[in-house]
């Protein structure tokens, strides 16, 4: 009988970690399933909530921007806004949920072992499910304004993957900070709010001055939102910003994982 041999030593866990992650892969699914189940059991309007929230945001933003007379870029403004709000909403909720996930599951984390990255990871997956449901809204709005999808729509999952990487990276950073510094959670909503204005949700990224545009794209959501808008045929593709955003998301994810791994070893002592 072949049995796994495990060595527990200070600073040793690294080697077994990725193997364990694979062994516990189903837990990603189960934790996400739990959160979704609980949420939709408790909410009276259930699954409609995932659509209602971005819908309300879209209506408000459309009204506001009509007043501000922002340029539309060839496509009906609600489509433009909707294509930005959905990924933004995914990103914001994923980062928030992941950021709070460790503290919320403290009871679990101090009682049983599994690779801790699963907890914020499955929080991101929950937000992804919400996002997938809310794409109904985008389809609806596009149909209403007679914006028909072209072949470009095929690229949408790619931009979604970019948003996923950025959200997971930042979520891991925030989860680690939140576990270590308990007052960080008060700063989190504020940072997310700030991010909304630093991302081209209400406006088009082409409005930024040309020589600032690459710098602006360090915010990976610039690449994501531009990509989404391009996919529904609203704006032109801008390769340099997209590549900068990709690089920045990759860096965010990599550093997020690294930092999380470092913090993780002492996690049970922190919580």
């Amino acid at each position: 009988m072949l049995e796994p041999e495990l060595v527990i030593e200070a600073g040793r866990t690294e080697r077994q970690y990725w193997r364990d992650l694979w062994r516990y892969r189903e837990l990603f699914y189960f934790l996400a399933w739990r959160d979704i189940l609980v949420r939709y059991k408790q909410a009276a309007i259930g699954i409609a909530w995932a659509v209602l929230r971005p819908l309300m945001m879209m209506v408000v933003f459309t009204l506001v921007s009509r007043r501000l007379k922002l340029p539309e870029g060839g496509v009906a403004y609600p489509v433009l806004i909707c294509a930005a709000i959905l990924p933004w909403q995914f990103f914001a909720s994923a980062v928030t949920e992941a950021g709070n996930s460790l503290v919320e599951n403290a009871n679990l984390l101090t009682k049983v072992y599994f690779p801790r990255v699963i907890v914020p990871g499955s929080a991101v997956i929950v937000s992804l499910v919400d996002f997938l449901i809310s794409t109904v809204l985008l389809a609806g709005v596009m149909a209403w304004f007679h914006v028909w999808p072209t072949w470009r729509i095929v690229a949408l999952p790619l931009f979604l993957a970019l948003a996923f990487a950025a959200a997971a990276g930042l979520g891991l950073w925030f989860a680690a900070l939140n576990a270590k510094y308990r007052d960080f959670r008060y700063a989190l909503p504020f940072l997310i709010q700030l991010g909304l204005y630093a991302s081209p949700v209400l406006y088009l990224s082409s409005l930024t001055p040309e020589n600032w545009r690459l710098f602006y794209a360090i915010n990976p959501m610039v690449g994501v939102i531009d990509g989404f808008r391009w996919s529904v045929g609203a704006v032109d593709f801008h390769w340099p910003t997209f590549l900068v955003s990709c690089a920045s998301a990759a860096l965010l994810l990599f550093s997020g994982v690294q930092n999380f791994r470092r913090m993780e070893r002492g996690l049970a002592d922190l919580l």
């Binding site: 200070a10 009682k111 049983v112 510094y181």
Partner: protein, 437 residues
């Protein structure tokens, strides 16, 4: 393949005790403020590092556990038992030393870890199983056995928040019991549930080691469970290994030399500095004491009266403060509670109350005392300090003990010296007839 399944060498775990223990969490605000202060101090040339106390929860621990053995870990609270289990379950990392584990470890440090009250029994079985490391297919295969063991068939689709605490515990244990790991780490989970189920759990665990050759590492304060379940025991004291050996011998030595007797527990109430006494802005508990014959005593003769003393500080005028004590035996059975319901009005100041317990109440056991200082309003619970006092009760050679001259095991969790009236003669209607026969 034979040889030890768990090999521990020089295992140590250090914790840092912060200088300000009142703050449970590190706040970013304080770290930033601290960094700024430190920077300013360095600028002004006044050095001075903040010192931290270290505390070794485990120190240089080495032992081996052979395959298929049930091993108990005994020791006082704070002896490092939980830390050891947490290291072996990989929840915390050791500071030094190593542990080699051969086989899959499942730890049961708390019953129902990860149970969600909103989810149904069925959903929680899957969730809990996954958290404990089971595959979905594995859970599905064992599902019926789990349900049958937990005896919750009828409530499978009811959210567990509607379960009775007994059902909840049964379900949670059942999931873990069917985990089938090579090594099962169990911490005090048997302290809950009713007696029948406890017996069932002990049976299941015994079965696991005997028939299936699994290894069980078991932490408990319940010494009868330890001797019943385990052949070997490890005795920890102050984070160090005190002894390893035959469970019955270890338990006897441990009870004789290390068992917890806390006849007095006090909290400081300094004029300035940290005030750690439990309570709120109205009343704080300062001390609890066990007295017999006007002396503090951790060993109580059950044939003589005793007293529990409660000392507290009233911070602002209060009405109808209810002091109470709850007594619990070593199996966790609540023996009784006694509150003082008398109306009262107390101004700020220090007070002392005493509960008098007559002779012949307790049985021979280890009794834990909970002290409460509360008010009628159920929303404002002031102090509820469980298990702050512990005393051993012994039966002495009294004039007329409840057990009479019988020296064997006497039944009952209490040994009340209730009065028997003398036999009186009563009329027997059939007596004249019998006399004639």
């Amino acid at each position: 393949m034979s040889g030890p399944v768990i090999q521990v060498e020089g295992l140590s775990k250090r914790y840092w005790l912060d200088q300000r223990p009142r703050e449970r969490y590190v706040a970013l605000r304080d770290v930033l403020a601290g960094a700024a202060k430190g920077f300013l101090r360095r600028l002004s040339g006044r050095g001075g590092s903040t010192t931290r106390d270290e505390f070794w929860a485990l120190r240089d621990l080495s032992f081996e556990i052979p395959r298929g053995e049930a091993v108990a870990v005994v020791g006082r609270n704070g002896a490092g038992k939980s830390t050891l289990l947490k290291i072996l379950s990989r929840i915390v990392e050791p500071t030094a030393g190593r542990a080699l584990i051969r086989g899959r470890v499942a730890s049961l440090l708390e019953v129902g870890t990860g149970f969600h009250p909103e989810l149904t029994g069925r959903e929680n079985i899957f969730l809990n199983g996954a958290i404990l490391g089971m595959r979905r297919a594995e859970i599905r295969r064992k599902f019926d056995d789990i349900v049958a063991f937990a005896e919750v068939e009828r409530f499978l689709d009811t959210p567990v928040k509607r379960y009775s605490s007994g059902m909840y515990v049964r379900l949670a244990f059942a999931v873990a019991a069917f985990l089938e790991p090579e090594i099962l780490v169990v911490d005090e989970v048997l302290a809950v549930g009713d007696a029948t189920f406890q017996k069932k759990c002990l049976g299941k665990m015994g079965e696991v080691t005997a028939a299936e050759g699994r290894t069980v590492l078991f932490v408990s304060h319940n010494m009868s469970a330890v001797t019943q379940l385990c052949r070997k025991a490890i005795w920890l004291k102050g984070g160090k290994l005190q002894a390893v050996g035959d469970a019955a011998t270890i338990v006897r030595d441990y009870l004789a030399h290390d068992a917890e007797q806390v006849a007095e527990r006090t909290w400081d109430w300094p004029a300035d500095g940290p005030r750690r006494a439990p309570g709120d802005d109205r009343v704080r508990l300062l001390a609890g004491r066990v007295f017999q014959d006007a002396e503090l005593s951790g060993v109580i003769d059950i044939n003589r009266p005793m007293e529990i003393e409660v000392e507290f500080q009233v911070l602002r005028p209060v009405r109808d403060l209810i002091a109470g004590c709850t007594f619990t035996n070593s199996l966790g059975t609540c023996l009784f509670n006694r509150c003082d319901w008398k109306p009262n009005q107390l101004g700020p100041g220090r007070y002392r109350k005493r509960l008098q317990i007559p002779a012949q109440v307790f049985a021979e056991d280890r009794v834990s005392v909970l002290i409460q200082l509360v008010f009628y309003d159920p929303d404002v619970g002031s102090v509820l300090q469980p298990d702050i006092l512990h005393f051993e009760t012994v039966d002495s050679d009294a004039e007329s003990p409840v057990r009479g001259h019988f020296k064997g095991v006497w039944p009952g969790v209490l040994r009340l010296g209730l009065p028997w009236a003398d036999a009186e003669r009563i009329p027997d209607p059939a007596a004249p007839l019998r006399a004639n026969l």
